[in-house]
Assembly symmetry: C2
Homo-oligomer: 320 residues x 2
């Protein structure tokens, strides 16, 4: 015993937890509502309760938490978290330890960084020493592994691949900049492109497919339409692929990594954007490094972050 970690994934809607063995096997899963819209205190309360229930049996090496936002992981501080109310330099680790009321090691890291670690540990990148992950979801997250170690920056803020500029005069991003990767290769970006297309009365079957209830499912709807041959929908995925390809060439020219992994919900539409992404990356990347870099789909799906969070515990405690 003692070689089990709890890995957490903090979503805007749910807190997902898993009991993970040191070789990466998931023993058990739990999930509760996160109540992120009510503020960070609610998230911490729900998180603490779930941890208490889980560690009751004893033998837990520690808790690893992946959370969307900017983290100072050495201090356990949540600097910024766009999807949780009222977060500004919140001392998450200390507050959580206080709430749990028991001595249990807690490690906090950005969720995309956790996904990078997970895929590197036992996923698509398990044979690579250096890789970059791009998680295409509501936004675009990123994580960088160099020589088998997460590079999370001077202050734990590295890997914000979603905010590299692709088109200097492009669409406005939530971060304030214009033309970020996130403005072209995320669910938010797809919604923007669809809204814009519908306003301009483009011919597309997407119009009939969208109901008020399905607004959240727009990327899936655009994927369905593209598979049915809808030209506008196919164009949207080409735009996603093109932006992604430009970003991949930048990353590979800059970091000469062995592998670029694409994960997140949008990766389900893989066939609709990957050819364009690879073509664009090859066109723009320097010959030798772009030829060398494998561009692959993540294999751990939603579990990448949870598993990476678990790995952090094993690593920090010297277990693996």
């Amino acid at each position: 015993m003692g070689k089990i970690a709890i890995g957490f994934d903090i979503g805007g809607t749910n807190l997902r937890a898993a009991l993970i063995r040191e070789e990466g096997h998931i023993l058990e899963r739990r999930s509760v509502l996160s109540e992120a819209d009510k503020g960070i205190e609610f998230v911490v309360k729900n998180l603490a309760r779930l941890i208490q229930q889980t560690i009751k049996g004893g033998g837990i090496a520690g808790v690893g938490i992946g959370i969307p936002g900017i983290i100072d992981s050495s201090k356990g501080i949540l600097t910024q978290a766009p999807n949780i109310c009222n977060v500004n330099n919140y001392p998450l680790r200390d507050m959580l330890i206080e709430k749990i009321g028991q001595s249990v090691p807690v490690f906090i890291e950005n969720d995309a960084n956790c996904a990078a670690i997970g895929e590197w540990w036992i996923g698509a990148g398990k044979d690579a020493k250096s890789l970059i992950i791009l998680t295409l979801g509501t936004g675009v997250g990123g994580g960088i592994i160099l020589d088998g170690v997460l590079w999370n920056g001077a202050d734990g803020m590295a890997g914000e691949i979603g905010h590299i500029t692709i088109y200097p005069d492009g669409a406005k991003c939530n971060c304030g900049n214009f033309g970020c990767l996130e403005s072209y290769a995320s669910a938010v970006a797809i919604r923007r492109m669809v809204d814009h297309g519908l306003e301009r009365n483009v011919e597309t079957i997407i119009r009939e497919k969208i109901t008020n209830r399905s607004k959240e499912r727009i990327p899936e709807i655009v994927a369905e339409a593209a598979i049915e041959g809808d030209k506008f929908a196919l164009w949207v995925w080409e735009e996603v692929g093109k932006a992604l390809g430009i970003a991949i060439a930048d990353l590979v020219n800059l970091l000469n990594v062995e592998m670029v992994i694409i994960g997140g919900g949008l990766a389900n539409a893989w066939e609709l954007f990957i050819d364009r992404a690879k073509k664009e990356a090859k066109k723009r990347g320097l010959r030798a490094p772009i030829k060398r870099a494998k561009i692959v789909k993540g294999v751990l799906g939603d579990d990448a972050g949870i598993l990476g969070a678990g790995y952090l515990v094993f690593k920090e405690k010297g277990i693996i």
Copy 2:
């Protein structure tokens, strides 16, 4: 004795060497023509002769060589070198050792990577643990130091910052891509902008300042004209600054480094582009990491690469 390294900088015109002490003091300098236009064999011959002359007295810990091109430093192979004739996977280290005919350790690294090491060791970045250097010369080179270690990639090809895409539909770069940083913030880029301006008959005093003999000095001429208030010349430096600022924001969002150092010949025109570069970087960078990153001018000038090459010897031999 024995704690002296020879650092080399291989230029298109000259081979420059320095005897360097372990604390970074330069004892002596030498220089010969490189004859790079005649091919790599001539460069190696000249390099070997200079090394033989220098090591005659004995007590040399090793030779470090900074060279513009793509290097596989672990194997000592020069993969590509745009400024030297006939280079294609040339086994530089082995050929050199054969030519020298004596047992002396030889280490080879990309010149901008050497400059990054030099500035980090005893230059502008000596108090930083993570930094990026951009060397603005004929082209744009780059080097990345993370946690006190050069990140030169899975195959020694990392740091090609000059070839990240700034404007996807921008000017064609020598690498084949369009809109690379190098196409907007190098001597080649400035020449292109000036040629284009003169063809379009813009009003500028640059026209009178250029003679056939001064073609190579165009960046200096454009700097002089800008200082004299020439509007076109000022615009050229604004373009340099803007492209640089976009690149700096990308780098800082991605790697969250403590410092970005700008070196190379164009850094002499610092006052003409840096305000625009910083403004653009601040506009596009994520709040916390861009506020944190210091943007500074290199302090070692042309010696950064030579000193970095020397450091490699001390480091690899376990002397420092």
